[in-house]
């Protein structure tokens, strides 16, 4: 590589290895510049990717990918990795429809050893890969790169526990930036912090002193201990906790110092068994606005790279904003209400609640399972916990929802944000399963608001309901309607007929209600009269509203932003089966049996066949079928006869 090595010459890690070590900081600078410039346009996970630029360079400088396997936990920090592994030119397509994913994907590159998106999977997956390697007698190295926030997730801790026991050659790089998504919480985080600040033994020493002083001759022994402690201090390594779990601990090492990182990684070759390398990085490193505000720059939309200011036009309050305000209003009125989140304080809009009611707010870190069982404990003692977790992450608490909340019929409110299509985060983050997995659980009720005013009403309703209940709402801006100031509620289990019609009945839920209204308007122009119902409740369904309409209109289309398997449409179909109603035509619109990749929500709705245009098309089809001369008449006759005989 003649002249000054440039990022544009690096098409693979092999090219990187040709760069003289002292020239690597230049590459780091170029990587940062490229990441900031692109993410400013596409949006994405900026702060975490900036924080691991040197770490990524050092990894690819030392390890031999793709033979060596790097598992990027969560994966939102993988931008530098993508650029260095053959995706530099594709990088401008990041997170756009048909472009490269914002997360590692097996299908995207041989350098992506394992697809990620949710937290805490890397150690478990890497351990599986290490075991497979050993069974094959291969020699490749397996590396999990995991943030301190992810490390405290139950899955990580299970993986750590098993990896320490299995004694396989395995490297866990702990990327410690003192942040998960929000600022870290939990004892493990405190422990890591004490390691870094050199206060490792403070609490321990205090306890030994207390213990000694309570013993006979305690004062004397405490003096000896103090002496001995001074002698020992320098030798006692930090990371004893990891050592006790079977890992060799190395660190803490400075995570933006390429020399140290490379030297350390090269030395790993001499170590056997599981090794944990504790690397300290700064989230947002090298980009002043992100360094100053890593929480805001965790995941961003487009922004001005010069100032860091968002450039997206203000689209009015989001559902999350309305949740935020309503929670504060509810908590003012009902002192029993507490709020819980799992490292999504800002994302779920609970920052304001935390400010106003610090003693009633609990961020449990990336620990969705614990969040739900913790809520069940609070509910058991009369509190009304509102658990705010994104739809996709709530999947982590499925068993706790069944076992701890619903079997005991405890009053826990689930604020399920990011329900439905979320857009550019792609397959791992779409909230497309919640209606199905929540609906099957006995004692659970589910609401979904068609606009932000309904969200406020539903939250008030849920908090007053006395039972397990989920309110599911989408990512992004609301419909721009006025949100009621006071404590309005919706009638329990009641849907709403928004516009009547005679040819076809469109039943929407949540965000799809507006699609139904738009479709009805389109149909009207084509001479088709569509009734539109907002079901409001996925469970219990409003049979008193739905059944007479189904009977009268005879052609029914349900529309949902959820998988069709076991979803909202199936719930309506189940109601009809139980009620022995046989509409002449019944069609469900929703996500067919597939994962939905990244793109804008509009693009994805179009691809998935759930846009208003699709509703119109389907409605025209069922109406045409219904107009065949005989069946509609026969249906009416049969339907009446069945009631008689």
């Amino acid at each position: 590589m003649p002249g000054v090595p440039r990022l544009q010459d690096i098409d693979s890690p092999l090219d990187l290895k040709k760069v003289p070590r002292e020239k690597l900081p230049g590459i780091a600078g170029e990587l940062r510049e490229m990441i900031v410039r692109n993410v400013a346009r596409t949006g994405g996970h900026l702060a975490s990717s900036l924080g691991v630029v040197e770490l990524t360079l050092a990894i690819h400088y030392v390890f031999d990918c793709p033979a060596d396997r790097i598992v990027w936990d969560v994966g939102h920090q993988s931008y530098a990795h993508k650029i260095l592994t053959g995706r530099r030119d594709a990088f401008p397509t990041l997170r756009t429809f048909g472009g490269i994913s914002g997360f590692p994907r097996i299908a995207e590159s041989p350098y992506d050893a394992f697809g990620t998106g949710h937290s805490g999977t890397s150690i478990s997956a890497a351990l599986g890969m290490a075991v497979a390697r050993d069974m094959k007698g291969a020699r490749n190295r397996v590396v999990a790169v995991i943030g301190d926030g992810s490390l405290s997730s139950g899955l990580s801790l299970e993986g750590l526990n098993q990896a320490g026991h299995q004694k396989r050659d395995l490297v866990v790089i702990l990327n410690d930036n003192e942040w998960s998504i929000s600022q870290n919480v939990g004892a493990l985080s405190g422990y890591l912090n004490r390691i870094m600040t050199g206060k490792f033994y403070t609490s321990f020493r205090k306890r030994v002193e207390t213990l000694l002083k309570s013993m006979p001759h305690g004062q004397f022994m405490a003096r000896i201990a103090k002496k001995s402690e001074e002698l020992t201090k320098g030798f006692i390594v930090p990371g004893l906790l990891f050592e006790e779990l079977g890992f060799t601990y190395i660190g803490p090492i400075p995570g933006h110092d390429l020399e140290t990182l490379i030297g350390t990684f090269q030395n790993l070759a001499n170590l056997e068994g599981p090794v944990l390398v504790h690397v300290v990085t700064s989230k947002g490193k090298g980009y002043a606005p992100a360094e100053a505000n890593p929480e805001i720059f965790h995941g961003v939309g487009s922004f001005d790279p010069e100032t860091g200011k968002g450039v997206g036009k203000a689209a009015g309050p989001t559902y999350t904003d309305v949740f935020s305000e309503t929670m504060v209003a509810i908590a003012r009125e009902n002192p029993k209400v507490v709020a819980i989140t799992a490292a999504m304080c800002s994302g779920t809009g609970l920052t304001r609640f935390r400010e106003v009611f610090p003693d009633r707010f609990f961020d449990v870190g990336i620990a969705e399972s614990h969040a739900v069982t913790f809520a069940a404990g609070l509910a058991r003692e009369g509190k009304v916990p509102v658990v705010a977790i994104y739809s996709t992450f709530l999947q982590r608490a499925f068993d706790q929802i069944i076992h701890d909340v619903c079997i005991q019929n405890l009053h826990v409110v689930f604020a399920v944000d990011r329900g439905g299509i979320v857009g550019s985060d792609g397959a791992t983050h779409q909230g497309l399963f919640d209606l199905s997995f929540l609906r099957q659980v006995p004692n659970m009720s589910i609401m979904a608001p068609r606009d932000e005013a309904e969200l406020a009403r539903m939250l008030w309703t849920a908090v007053g309901s006395g039972r397990p209940v989920a309110v599911r709402y989408p990512r992004g801006a609301g419909m721009g309607v006025r949100v009621p100031a006071g404590a309005e509620t919706v009638p329990w289990g009641k849907g709403e007929l928004l516009s009547d019609g005679k040819d076809v009945l469109l039943v929407g839920i949540g965000a799809t209600v507006s699609s139904c209204l738009m479709a009805a308007e389109g149909l009207r122009k084509r001479g088709v009269s569509a009734a539109v119902v907002d079901a409001r409740f996925v469970k219990p369904l409003d049979s008193e509203l739905l059944l007479p309409l189904v009977r009268r209109i005879g052609r029914v289309i349900t529309v949902e932003e959820n998988v069709l398997a076991g979803g909202f449409g199936s719930a309506v179909m189940e109601l009809l089966e139980e009620s022995e109603e046989h509409p002449q035509q019944f069609r469900r619109i929703g996500i067919r049996d597939r994962f939905v990749e990244h793109g804008t929500p509009a693009e994805l709705r179009d691809v998935c066949g759930i846009s208003p245009d699709h509703v119109i098309g389907e409605a025209l089809r069922v109406c045409a079928a219904g107009k065949s001369f005989l069946p509609s008449i026969l249906y009416g006759i049969r339907s009446r006869l069945e009631k008689i005989v």
Copy 2:
């Protein structure tokens, strides 16, 4: 209380507190005798309950329940607690229909602070209760009693991490018996073992020595360190790991020594913040057959209390037995196959596999989430992992099934044992959600065998399928059919018409196929001709088989041992909707929207309305409805017309 205190005089913990401390061992003996005598008859979790007799006595001697809140993790060790808290006379009804549950239940007693059944919920729930207490300004104590096996579950570790951070007054009693269900695994277990054997510092010391020797003047410093270590040794408490996580550690203390237990618990009153009391017990304590074989006596059916020998008649091989044999046969032929379980080695029948292929067997402990992501890692590298987990515990891995296995379309085989009604373990253990929660996940396929021969065939099929696939089968004895010796498979996605008929089509899946066959026989005697289909696959459904039959027969009943919401019947209904088939009659039989309590499977099937008699009743009803003179003719006409127009 005059004379010798007897168990029969103890109706509540208040009565227990009147017993002089030195007389408590007598009560312990009576408790053991009562537990053994009853469990010998009803079956149940014997070994764990015997192991905590003294612990339970000490807890109720010191703490003031129900004001003080005891959360029994898993809860299968709560028999002595139940007897001492007003349920002595009800104890003979344990686990029987309408009797008391084998687990704590809020609804059963004010002394049951929190319902349990699955592992690892106690710390999270107790923390929630402690927070609620502090918010109310109450002073009651909250105690979680958790086994060492449960402690390493991700949920427990999340709870521990949060509890250490929150600094609430909270007591965690670690009941360390070196067993979860099977013998314990994992680094944490090794750590606890080192504490107990006094080998706490061995590994650590070795590492410090190595480190020092590699430094300049290392030999000299190592000598100083050795000296200093000798000085320090006596002062260093064990349990540093827990201390570093914010807990005050006390222990290890002998768990069958009432004096020590009571003294320790009384002293807890002087401590603030989270405390972990490490108690060492023996599983099965006081009953020789259980002490000798705690794994067998973890959960037992009825047995002879004198000998410990099972008295239930040998009902022929269970599904689990057939899984056990088939796995060994498959692994002999396919060297890529590995087996994974989560502390259910014996329960899932993998003991034989472990013996024959110790290097290909992985018990990850109570860590279902990790088990699945670990499997995904293995699958990514070309292994074919078979993950054997009970249906109810697989709920813990829902997100990992979606995120790590199915999004990446990796070939992981799920052997879902205990699918359907399991009987006397009750609501927390029924496997009634799996068809719904697995079916909704894209890329997942699901089979369920109607007998043990089909189970063997389906396992061979799954292992050869190259994709994510679940085989779901029930608890207990098979149908007594011959199991094929060789590598037979079932055709992918194909159901089977077992008997044809013209009046009604019964579609069964798994265990309900035999109910359908019995119902068809009963219907034949009543002059009704029923066709019976074994769907075999819940996903993909065999539309080529089903649709023509539905069209021809017109009356359809699906039967499943799963919740109706989003279950198998809904899958069939969805297929009909997608195919625009409108049968004249369509009914689903399965579990309506409710949790199913404990009882014999036959009792529960009857209560839930899914017995063969219910199928007969429903079939007669739909046939009667179908016989009304007009609709059936009209249906035929309409159905044909719809195909034309």
